[in-house]
């Protein structure tokens, strides 16, 4: 099976869906002529032309609102945020309009938009460019939130996202763009709302998503080898809708939970998970639910220190040991 990068996987998904559905339009800053700020859309302009691959001015509220409006008439825009951090300048369009017009119209309208882009820290780009707003987005009924960790997941999930009739927010990671993984050439989709057990284990469940999956898998190797602890890693893949059944089954099996997330602690995705786990798996917990999050401060610039601020394999190992106490 060929090995392609996460970036390429996304590109292939875009290309396939652009081919499949003439209503799909890719839109964003530098997506066309520049071939993508992170080269995700590299080559698409040449293949699909400027009607399908559209460069926008720096105008997130404008072009995302435009995309939402167009989707009400049947266009399926896939809009790129160069950084998900920029969502805040388009907050009204994303979380008031896209999220709510179906509801406010009593179900007469739907907005089949996709907003995609990288949402991550760890690249020393500072506090305003390092947001991971999946918790903020997922808090809004009416939207869907996807955070893939691997090339295989990214491709299958993006295709589903584009085909989905509801607004889907697709959060990538600049650091993962270069990660290679096995991706079949034959077409496949991964349904939204389906988690994936990336590693089977017996002693403790790590519930995680995004780049933290990679950290957790690395940590799990060390924990097995050096500490004899068998860790199961559950990759949520989609935050909303949430495959909680997979999480539950894992917790009931191992009886110990560590949530690992690149999120500031307060009201993060993990906070919601912890409530649900203790609510639905209370009698199966052999210890409190632990959570490893980003250290609670704006993203620091200083490169080595930012690594420590975010979850990383060493911090995951420590957290697992603490959770096993």
């Amino acid at each position: 099976m060929p090995q392609i990068t996460y970036r390429e996987a996304i590109r292939h998904a875009l290309a396939e869906e652009l081919t499949r559905d003439p209503n799909v339009v890719v839109m964003g800053e530098e997506v066309a002529q520049f071939n993508g700020a992170y080269k995700v859309t590299d080559g698409l302009l040449a293949t699909f032309g400027p009607t399908r691959i559209v460069d926008t001015p720096i105008s997130e509220a404008g072009f995302i609102g435009l995309g939402v409006g167009a989707s009400m008439l049947g266009i399926r825009p896939v809009m790129e945020l160069m950084f998900w951090s920029f969502y805040s300048v388009a907050f009204d369009q994303i979380l008031n309009n896209a999220a709510n017009v179906r509801y406010m119209s009593g179900g007469q309208i739907n907005c089949p938009i996709v907003i995609r882009g990288p949402a991550n820290g760890g690249t020393n780009v500072g506090a305003t460019h390092s947001h991971t707003p999946e918790n903020v987005l997922a808090n809004h009924p009416g939207v869907k939130v996807v955070v893939p960790a691997t090339a295989y997941d990214a491709k299958g999930l993006l295709k589903s996202a584009i085909r989905d009739n509801d607004p889907v927010f697709f959060l990538e990671n600049t650091i993962l763009y270069g990660d290679k993984g096995e991706v079949p050439e034959a077409e496949y989709v991964i349904p939204l709302g389906k988690a994936d057990v990336k590693r089977v284990g017996a002693d403790l469940t790590i519930v995680t998503y995004g780049r933290c999956v990679i950290h957790s898998l690395k940590a799990a190797e060390v924990l097995e080898k050096d500490h004899g602890i068998s860790v199961e890693v559950v990759d949520l893949r989609t935050i909303r809708p949430l495959d909680f059944d997979t999480v539950l089954a894992s917790v009931k099996k191992t009886n110990r939970v560590l949530i690992v997330e690149e999120q500031k602690p307060f009201a993060s995705v993990g906070t919601q998970l912890a409530y649900m786990i203790q609510r639905e798996a209370f009698d199966h917990l052999d210890g409190p639910i632990h959570r490893l999050a980003t250290i609670d401060a704006p993203a620091i610039y200083s490169p080595p220190v930012e690594t420590e601020q975010l979850p990383n394999p060493a911090r995951v190992i420590k957290a697992v040991l603490a959770a096993m106490a």
């Binding site: 339009v25 001015p57 995302i64 409006g69 167009a70 008439l73 009924p141 009739n165």
Partner: protein
């Protein structure tokens, strides 16, 4: 009030007479008598609906509870704008506006019963009671709301135009906003995109002189529609009291959009007799004299009535009949609303996701809702 003074002369009859008779404009001259009467009728229906909803808002229902909660932004005084613009819509033309949307809703042809029921929050409302006054929608009539955040609807309207162009349809989107919205960033972004990408949108500024309690003079630097020039768009301006005048100007801009796929901005000067919302103490920012002056001299319904009487299209008797019917219609709408049931708590989580409303076609898995 520091608005551009319009050339209006008082007459004994109290009707406003303009130097230019817009009835003669081709778009209006081509109207048949029934069509002219329909323009008048629609305005009167809007007026009576608004008055009836105000009465409902201020009163209580039979159980002693509230009929209408939240906001109620009345269109009284501005009827000619919505009616004039919407009367020009072709099958590929679309409309979107802000929260003062009752006039547009009626003007595009929505039935007043579900409109009133929506105000009452009943399940029979046009948005199933989920939107309220600010969120009327009728996709089948090319009407896309009804939006609460000032200026937020303008990028959406631009998107409607984008879709039309993308789909190769010859049509235009009319994106309405108030005089206060022109200062929102999103509006500027939309202007830029529309002009940059040659989108068939007409940005219509309904300038009623006040954004809530702040007059234009205190809100906006420079003339409102003229800002379009900064984005390479043409602009126009007219008074909004004469439905013919509105039609005459809008026709030009709609043609520009449809035929040449160019956006433009139109500023239509109008007036609202009631406050920003019904809860607005409007004596803080304007005088009763001012309101009276408009009511007496520039009321769009009066203007139209006098015109049609003069044209011989309407008789007083017919006008009275139309009025009576409009009142009856409004009353009937109120009765319908009153008698309708509310949504149940089970309805709260419907109409959130397309997928949760179409479970048989759902492709995703997992929990869409949480406790």
């Amino acid at each position: 009030m520091s608005k551009k003074p319009s050339a209006i002369a008082d007459t004994k009859s109290g009707a406003a007479v303009k130097a230019t008779d817009y009835a003669l404009a081709p778009i209006n001259a081509a109207l048949s008598s029934p069509q002219r009467i329909e323009l008048y009728r629609t305005m009167i229906r809007i007026r009576r609906f608004e008055e009836r909803s105000l009465r409902a808002y201020q009163g209580k229902n039979v159980s002693g509870g509230t009929n209408i909660g939240g906001f109620l932004h009345l269109y009284i005084g501005q009827e000619a704008v919505a009616v004039g613009c919407c009367s020009l819509m072709g099958k590929n033309d679309h409309v979107i506006t802000a929260y003062r949307d009752h006039g547009h809703a009626i003007a595009v042809g929505m039935d007043t019963k579900p409109l009133m029921a929506e105000l009452y929050g009943k399940i029979t409302g046009c948005s199933k009671g989920k939107g309220g006054s600010m969120h009327y929608f009728a996709p089948d009539k090319n009407f896309w709301g009804g939006h609460g955040i000032v200026g937020g609807q303008i990028p959406l309207g631009t998107g409607l135009a984008y879709a039309l162009k993308y789909q190769g349809k010859k049509g235009a989107a009319m994106a309405f906003m108030g005089d206060g919205a022109v200062n929102q960033g999103a509006v500027h972004e939309a202007y830029n995109l529309a002009s940059l990408w040659n989108l068939p949108v007409v940005f219509v500024i309904e300038n009623n002189g006040y954004s809530m309690g702040t007059s234009q003079a205190r809100s906006s630097a420079g003339q409102l529609a003229k800002r379009a020039e900064g984005y390479n768009m043409t602009w126009g301006q007219c008074d909004g009291h004469d439905v013919y005048e509105v039609r005459a100007l809008m026709d030009k801009h709609l043609t520009l959009a449809r035929e040449q796929s160019r956006p433009s901005t139109v500023e239509i000067d109008t007036y609202r007799y009631r406050g920003h919302s019904v809860a607005d103490p409007d004596n803080t920012y304007r005088t009763k004299t001012e309101i009276e002056e408009y009511r007496n001299k520039k009321d769009p319904i009066q203007v139209s009535l006098h015109k049609l009487l003069a044209e011989g299209v309407l008789t007083e008797a017919l006008a009275d009949k139309i009025d009576a019917e409009a009142r009856a219609e409004a009353e009937s709408a109120a009765e319908f609303a009153d008698a309708s049931p509310y949504p149940t708590p089970d309805d709260i989580q419907k109409d959130v996701y397309w997928e949760s409303d179409h479970p048989a076609e759902r492709k995703s898995e997992g929990r869409l809702f949480f406790d």
